[in-house]
Amino acid sequence: MHEQSTFLSRLQRRPEAWLLAVILLAGLALSLASPTFLTLPNIVDLLESYAVQAIMALGLFVVLVSGGIDISFAATASVAQYVAAAMAAYAGLPPLVCIGAGLLIGVALGLLNAALIHYVRITSIIATIATMSVYFSFLMYVTGGRSIYNLPDWWTDRITFYETETTSGDLVRITLPIVALLVAALLTWLLMTRSKVGRQLYAMGGNPEAARRIGINIAGMQFFAYGFLGFMSAAAGLLQAHRVGESVPNALYGNELAVLSAAVLGGASLTGGIGTVPGVLLGIVLLAMLQNGLNLLGVSSYFFQIVIGLVILISTSITVLSARQRRRRRPIGEALNV
């Protein structure tokens, strides 16, 4: 019993550890069951198709660490993507202007969320549900739901950084989405572990009142966290249009809960102050692997949602139950330990 509790508390310290174990286990099982699973082309394919969601999850992770939550990021990404696409396709503006405008819009919408949360004091989940409705509905209203298909070549041309042929003759390409994901992950990791801002965000998420009293600029931190998520969402939105070669206003909408699941699976806590970049990436990897693996095994894709539901329920229960061993001194955590 004692041994078990120390084991569990070690798991609680590093949620990534058991997530990695689950991933390795699932990977082993899937590669035994399906020979195509553990091949380089399949893995690179997976990476590319989940890059957009992963970049959003990294942004959301920063907000989660700061003790907030954001539901509006997919709407933000859609707006940023569509405006940039309209500028490029209809006005023929140069790439830098379009990309810059898209990213700026993302940051601006994120800052607007932060202003509502900090100055108007609306709870983050309520504020972002409201702004999600506003951003997305206005986008659909103004555009009439029309897609932009004639994106310029500079946007949709596939950019390959490295290319190689496997012995089996498959072409493996390291493309822009993969590189963007790596850059985003590195940036977020550096920010959260190697910068003053990152440490302050963790402190604020852990205990906002204590953070305020030691002189952390709470307003600044809020604006930074939501602005950062806005930036990452916009980048993900631009990247998504690059992948599919068109801008569909409601293509990203509806991804919110999947991205949130990934971040939470990776150990980011909804009460703030906890979470790591590797954890978030592992969360995405687990979801991607399960979906892809089940596909390869010929299991109906309809089954996938059931698996996600079970994974969320089981992993969060284990995390919280093990956390009970060493109650954290925080009001919310205590209140929830019924």
């Binding site: 700061s66 003790g67 907030g68 939550i69 539901i71 509502l116 949360i117 108007v120 004091r121 609306i122 709870t123 983050s124 989940i125 309520i126 504020a127 549900i129 409201a130 702004t131 999600m132 409705s133 506003v134 509905s137 206005f138 659909m140 209203y141 604020m204 906002p208 009142e209 709470i218 931190m221 809960l257 949130l260 939470v264 909804l270 009460t271 703030g272 109906s300 309809y302 089954f303 996938f304 949602q305 059931i306 698996v307 996600i308 539901g309 079970l310 969320i312 329920l313 969060t316 229960s317 919280v320 139950l321 009970r324 009001p331 919310i332 205590e334 209140a335 929830l336 330990n337 019924v338």
Partner: protein, 360 residues
């Protein structure tokens, strides 16, 4: 001060003084401001939209408000307890699917009156049992693991939706007995039956929340679960009760949905999920839990539906309606905050200085 997701609200952070005040007065803006807003909207639309002030508008208003209203009631109970139920739409859809499937499978082609009624009754009982089971499991998970309700219900939503989609392959089940849809769309004393069901559910829930020990316990848990537990209240059992109540309301909603759509699917009404939270918060339900009245929710729902009906008659897009809903929520919460903070300043001055014990 920043606001963590489930932390104490701005007012709760200021200690007992503001708490008692809120118990006495509730949120002032939602008590007086919302009915005024509703009245202004109705008058405005009646003046500027020619066909607005007619019986037809009012009847379609009553038809449309029932489904969103019942789902919002299902969201309000967990919200008052300090939680959230993201699985309400999934639960209602699955219950509707089960009932539709049972009616289709059990009903012989040439079923007479008694058989028909028996089958419908059996389907209703099965739907109710399913919702009770879902509510019980959700509540037990939340109460006994202590996992945040957002996460638990995110998981159960995915699970329930997944099972529904897996079993139906994403298809729609239609072929409900005519009498079922006909009863649902009938009117009684000029009011649609679905609207009467909604009003009945709202009144019952209002009595349960305001006038029973269970209702008080739910509000107490929403205010401070630890203090409630130390008051010798079985918080776990109450939490299970919260999610069972929420699921039973989903069952009632599923009957209305089945009658309204004349079919069932895993994909119906998904866009209502966040709107129910919006309606509840607009109606003065504290997103941190502890406070909220069914009456406030009813006014908020009426406001949302009046905007929707009015815009509809003006020929404006549904998307614009949703955008306006979002803006109204932001405006109302902002007004409440400003109102409250001004009030708090006076209160604190009256108390001279807050005692150290009331500091967070």
């Amino acid at each position: 001060m920043s606001e963590p997701l489930l932390g104490d609200g701005p007012a709760a952070g200021h200690g007992l003084g503001s708490l008692t005040a809120r118990l006495q007065g509730g949120l002032p803006m939602s008590e007086i401001g919302l009915p005024v807003l509703l009245l202004a909207l109705v008058l405005g639309f009646a003046l500027f939209v020619p066909q607005f002030a007619t019986l037809g508008t009012f009847q379609s208003f009553m038809y449309q408000i029932a489904m969103l209203g019942l789902l919002s009631l299902a969201m309000v109970v967990p919200l008052i307890s300090g939680g959230l139920n993201l699985a309400i739409i999934a639960t209602a859809n699955q219950s509707a699917l089960l009932m539709a499937w049972l009616m289709k499978a059990l009903l012989p082609a040439s079923a007479g009156g008694p058989t028909l009624l028996l089958v419908i009754l059996a389907a209703l009982v099965a739907g109710l049992l399913l919702c009770l089971l879902i509510g019980f499991l959700t509540g037990a998970l939340i109460a006994y693991t202590g996992v945040h309700p957002i996460l638990v219900t995110l998981g159960t939503k995915s699970l329930i939706d997944g099972i529904s989609i897996y079993l139906t392959r994403g298809t729609v089940i239609s072929g409900i007995p005519d009498i079922f849809a006909a009863t649902g769309n009938a009117t009684l004393l000029g009011m649609p039956v679905v609207f009467l069901i909604f009003i009945l559910a709202a009144v019952v829930l209002g009595i349960v929340l305001q006038g029973t020990p269970f209702g008080l316990k739910v509000a107490m848990i929403g205010s401070n679960i630890e203090a409630t537990r130390y008051s010798a209240i079985d918080t776990r059992r109450t939490l299970v009760g919260v999610y069972v109540t929420s699921s039973v309301l989903c069952f009632v909603a599923s009957i209305v949905m089945l009658a309204a759509f004349n079919s069932a699917s895993a994909g119906y009404a998904q866009s209502y999920l966040l709107v129910t939270i919006l309606a509840a918060v607009l109606g003065g339900v504290d997103p941190f839990g502890g406070f909220g009245k069914v009456a406030g929710l009813m006014v908020a729902l009426a406001i949302l539906q009046v905007i929707s009906s009015g815009f509809n008659q003006l020929g404006l897009s549904n998307y614009l309606t949703v955008a306006i809903w979002g803006l109204i929520l932001i405006a109302v919460v902002a007004a409440q905050t400003i109102h409250q903070s001004g009030w708090l300043v006076r209160r604190l001055r009256f108390r001279a200085a807050p005692s150290p014990a009331s500091k967070p």
